[in-house]
């Protein structure tokens, strides 16, 4: 069943310049799609359009249907119902995504209460449970902490916990590990993979890093200058890219990787 159907999406700036042009793709329930592209390819704008979160002044045409709701042109009230329930998002920079003045526990408890209607002691218990599920050590302490009091990796786990608390049908992750150290990134990718699989959630994973996308998705859509360049299974795109742009991208990634192999050959 199609969960997200993006058809002919075009996003323009206030002066009419197209930043995303005639983009179409679908994500079925439980499916994982990676959006990959370099800076300015329009991948992040696409995710914002899916959530009805485009910046002021930008306009979108075409169609974005998320779990049966047409997002483009929807009223704020309809969007509020969709966000969280049908799709939740984890952004790149957890320091700006979390409210700096609110304890971490409350930021996870908010969406949890909205979905489950829990209150008081039971909400507290569910919040700690949600923090434990993203493998945060000592959830009691983390829940009482403010975002600046925990590490970057821990903040991103909190953001993931808040997104998962809504049990969305679709988890959107926009460069969720780019700001993290490589060993923290590896843990975070493993965590997303497991949690999403357990919940049979669909994922729209945005990244500039092919190797990262390949770790968590089944299919890849390559974007350049706001257009889709190529789409296919992870294996097809990475092993046998059809378009020159994709070939370049893969070759660049492989060049760097091969240095690691050459250098580290015993």
């Amino acid at each position: 069943m199609t969960l997200l159907d993006v058809h002919g999406l075009t996003v323009r700036t206030a002066d009419g310049r197209p930043l995303v042009s005639n983009l179409s793709f679908t994500v079925a329930g439980g499916e994982r799609l990676g959006l990959i592209g370099e800076s300015g390819s329009g991948k992040s704008l696409t995710t914002l359009a899916v959530l009805g979160l485009l910046p002021e002044g930008m306009s979108a045409t075409g169609s974005v249907v998320l779990a049966g709701t047409q997002i483009l042109g929807a009223r704020e009230k309809e969007l509020t119902a969709v966000r969280g329930r049908d799709a939740a998002v984890v952004f790149q920079e957890p320091l700006t995504a979390l409210d700096p003045l609110m304890r971490v526990g409350r930021q996870v408890a908010g969406p949890l209460a909205r979905r489950t209607g829990l209150k008081g002691g039971r909400l507290r218990a569910a919040t700690l449970d949600a923090l434990a599920q993203v493998r945060l050590p000592d959830p009691e302490r983390i829940a009482r902490a403010f975002p600046h009091e925990i590490s970057g990796g821990q903040r991103q786990r909190v953001a993931l916990a808040a997104a998962l608390a809504c049990e969305p049908a679709l988890l959107i992750a926009d460069e969720p590990t780019t700001a993290l150290d490589v060993s923290v990134q590896a843990e975070m990718l493993g965590l997303i993979d497991t949690l999403v699989r357990e919940r049979e959630m669909a994922v729209l994973f945005v990244s500039h890093d092919l190797a990262v996308v390949a770790k968590v998705t089944d299919r890849i859509l390559v974007m350049k200058d706001g257009r889709a360049v190529e789409e296919g299974t992870v294996r097809d795109v990475v092993v046998a890219p059809r378009q020159e742009y994709t070939r370049n991208l893969v070759a660049s990634a492989r060049t760097l990787e091969s240095a690691l192999d050459l250098r580290s050959a015993p």
């Binding site: 370099e38 590896a186 390949a214 992870v234 990475v238 893969v250 760097l256 250098r263 050959a265």
Partner: protein, 254 residues
């Protein structure tokens, strides 16, 4: 051979802090042996680079330049030092003055080191811009007219215009897209090869390190846990932390 730069049992501490950010660090940079400082956020990589650049003073130990302790008050020595050791930073968007044209930006080291007059600098600036693969008319333009990769080339032109022996680079390619990243790595490799430039590079990206540096030092929480030939450190890591770093690098499916 005398190391160009050397840290001997160095420690550093932020003002008012109770613990050292780096401690007991001994490293030597020999001519022609580029060195990578590898580690995660907070490991002290940038602090070491600041010590090597003479931008911070160690709270213990010595920084040596050509075998002589670096004396930040010795103007003559500092002048020789600045001429020999230049740097490139991570973010090409914030390291170039947006209100100056590229020409004067690149000529800055020549001017501040008193090496050239404005007119005398022009051919050197043109040569430096050409060496990093930028068009000759780049000198007349402003930084905002260039892409991220091109701006990093401008920063590299500025750092190499006075023909230094050592280039200190703090995550020089991590803000760049992968195709651009490969090109800037190639450029740095070319400068190493053709000018005999020695790199000291801070990076968290092991594949970039493997592409450019003969030697690698791994830092964890302010201490060097392992150092040696890059092939040995990455190929047969002796320390658990190094192994964890290597295993964490996401790889493309084959």
């Amino acid at each position: 051979m005398t190391p160009v730069l050397e840290l001997a049992d160095v420690a550093a501490r932020y003002r008012g802090a109770r613990a050292d950010v780096v401690s007991d660090v001994s490293l030597a940079v020999r001519p022609g042996e580029s060195l990578a400082l590898v580690g995660e956020s907070g490991a002290g990589k940038t602090t070491l680079l600041r010590l090597l650049l003479g931008l911070a003073r160690p709270t213990a130990g010595t920084v040596r330049f050509d075998g002589v302790p670096l004396a930040l008050r010795d103007r003559q020595q500092m002048r020789r030092f600045r001429r020999s050791v230049q740097c490139v930073f991570q973010d090409p968007y914030s390291s170039l003055d947006p209100r100056r044209r590229v020409g004067p930006i690149v000529a800055e080291p020549l001017r501040s080191l008193g090496l050239d007059t404005r007119a005398g600098a022009a051919p050197k600036v043109a040569a430096a811009l050409e060496a990093v693969g930028l068009p000759a008319d780049a000198a007349e333009r402003y930084p905002h007219e260039f892409s991220g990769g091109q701006r990093q080339r401008i920063a590299i032109a500025r750092a190499t215009v006075c023909e230094p022996r050592v280039l200190l680079a703090d995550e020089p390619v991590s803000a760049l897209d992968v195709t651009t990243r490969v090109k800037v790595v190639d450029l740095l490799a070319e400068l190493k090869r053709e000018r005999g430039l020695t790199l000291v590079m801070v990076s968290h990206d092991l594949s970039v390190v493997a592409s450019l540096c003969e030697r690698t030092a791994v830092l964890e929480q302010g201490r060097v846990v392992e150092q040696g030939d890059t092939a040995r450190v990455l190929g047969a890591p002796a320390h658990a932390y190094t192994r964890r770093l290597i295993d964490s690098v996401p790889r493309l499916p084959t």
